[in-house]
């Protein structure tokens, strides 16, 4: 029998080691798996390489992981935000390595890892500083840059509903990186707000098939908070 349901975030992360590469879903606060990030902090794992679109908002979640100096390197597209003060301070002090990746290249490099693709040519970034030193090729009269896949040891993602096989649905724009990160990691851990019986999810609406998911952790629903922008006064 297949049963991927794990009772707590900490149990789901019990086997993580220092130096692990960890993908964390979310675009700003939408889709950010806060319970899993808190558990990651609790494990005490250090020297982590984090892959996320951003570099933390405010003082909780990913921002707290950074503030505690658990992260050696971050791979992201948009670290600078109105409330990214923890990343900003570490970066300016030279205490964190940054690999800045155009957002579409980030998504496609993650997808490529999950799809077994060894690299791909993309027009994005050609002729810019973010393609410096990379192989280029003219294809059909247009210039392209060779980009490599990004693999991970773990992907921590936030989904909406799941079952014991690991089939997942998401909620609105909280989906963002979840489906591609789930494909790219050796161990994908998804939080869900509801676990349903096998067969209860409409097969036509399953977004991430369970084959991409190793552990499913039920968590209480908490309304997603604002983050990443300045509120009008």
């Amino acid at each position: 029998m297949i049963d991927k349901i794990v009772s707590s975030p900490l149990d789901a992360l019990a086997d993580i080691r220092d130096g692990a590469t960890v993908m964390i879903g979310g675009f700003g606060t939408a889709g950010q798996p806060n319970e899993l990030i808190d558990a990651l902090i609790e494990t005490g794992a250090r020297e982590l390489v984090i892959v996320n679109n951003n570099a933390g908002n405010g003082d909780a979640g990913l921002a707290r992981l950074l503030a505690l100096k658990r992260v050696r390197k971050i791979v992201c597209s948009f670290p600078r935000q109105a409330d990214s003060h923890h990343f900003d301070a570490l970066y300016r002090a030279g205490e964190i390595e940054l690999e800045l990746v155009p957002q579409g290249n980030l998504a496609e490099r993650i997808r490529a890892a999950g799809a077994g693709i060894g690299g791909f040519f993309t027009p994005t970034g050609y002729g810019t500083a973010l393609a410096a030193g990379k192989e280029t090729r003219e294809i059909g009269g247009r210039m392209y840059v060779l980009e490599s896949p990004i693999h991970a040891d773990y992907a921590l993602i936030k989904a909406e509903t799941g079952d014991r096989w690991g089939n997942l649905t998401y909620r609105m724009t909280a989906r963002n990186f979840g489906p591609v990160m789930a494909m790219a990691a050796r161990i994908t851990i998804a939080t869900v707000h509801e676990v349903v019986e096998l067969g209860a999810l409409d097969p036509e609406t399953i977004v991430t098939p369970g084959v991409f998911v190793q552990r499913v952790v039920p968590v209480e629903r908490v309304a997603t908070t604002a983050g990443g922008f300045k509120r009008a006064a």
């Binding site: 606060t29 155009p102 579409g104 609105m172 977004v207």
Partner: protein, 224 residues
């Protein structure tokens, strides 16, 4: 005479940001699929006519985006690229990030509207990084958008705060994309960029081509 002095002595009615946004909206055809960048371009959505069925895409994974929700109705699982709460129109859809950027890179968007630090006469765009030593670089989807949409429009003030034209012979800021900008909407003029030529198609009231040329060293402007 400095560029600022030239302007301050002329009775020029610069277009406001809202007028610029309305001008862009007029050029968006019914049925177009459009991505509006963060900042100045966001205002374009407020000027789309009711009979214009324009489909708005946001790179975080939503198409068919509607206006901001009423106060108290915000749901921060439904946000735009600026991470602000939005709504979904009937017919709208959600998708993951790789699909969202396939929509750009794959040429499925008709128009994107971006802000800029500088644009060159050849249509090169610089809008992601000032290159200043203490600046924290952040690129987001700018590079994908710039080269992905069928047409890339730029909305910007024509001059920097220091009075320098942002339409330049060659960008000095780090580039976002090469030869990708097809039209500039500014507070002083609307300019088409094609094959290295800069064709002024509209001037702010009171401004002559000669005035604009004087503000734009190193770039040859011609009138449509």
């Amino acid at each position: 005479m400095s560029p600022q002095a030239t302007l301050s002595t002329s009775p020029i009615a610069r277009w406001t940001r809202e007028q610029m946004a309305a001008r862009v909206a007029r050029d968006i055809p019914d049925g177009a699929v459009v991505n509006l960048g963060i900042g100045l371009p966001t205002a374009v959505a407020n000027h789309l006519a009711d009979d214009q069925e324009v489909v708005l895409h946001s790179e975080n994974g939503v198409i068919g985006m509607g206006p901001a929700p009423a106060a108290g109705e915000e749901d921060f699982d439904l946000i735009n690229a600026g991470k602000q709460p939005v709504t979904l129109r009937p017919g709208g859809a959600f998708f993951h990030h790789a699909d969202s950027f396939a929509m750009m890179r794959g040429g499925h968007l008709d128009i994107c509207v971006l802000g800029a630090f500088q644009v060159s006469a050849a249509g090169d765009l610089a809008n992601w990084h000032t290159g200043a030593p203490d600046a924290i670089p952040a690129v987001g989807g700018a590079m994908d958008l710039a080269i992905g949409a069928k047409k890339t429009f730029v909305m910007m003030e024509y001059l920097t705060k220091g009075g320098q034209a942002k339409l330049v012979p060659e960008c000095s800021y780090p580039l976002t994309g090469l030869g990708c900008v097809s039209r500039l909407y500014t507070d002083l003029a609307v300019i088409d960029l094609a094959d290295g030529e800069c064709t002024v198609i509209e001037l702010a009231p009171g401004l002559t081509l000669r005035d604009l040329q004087a503000l734009t060293p190193g770039v040859t402007l011609k009138r449509a």
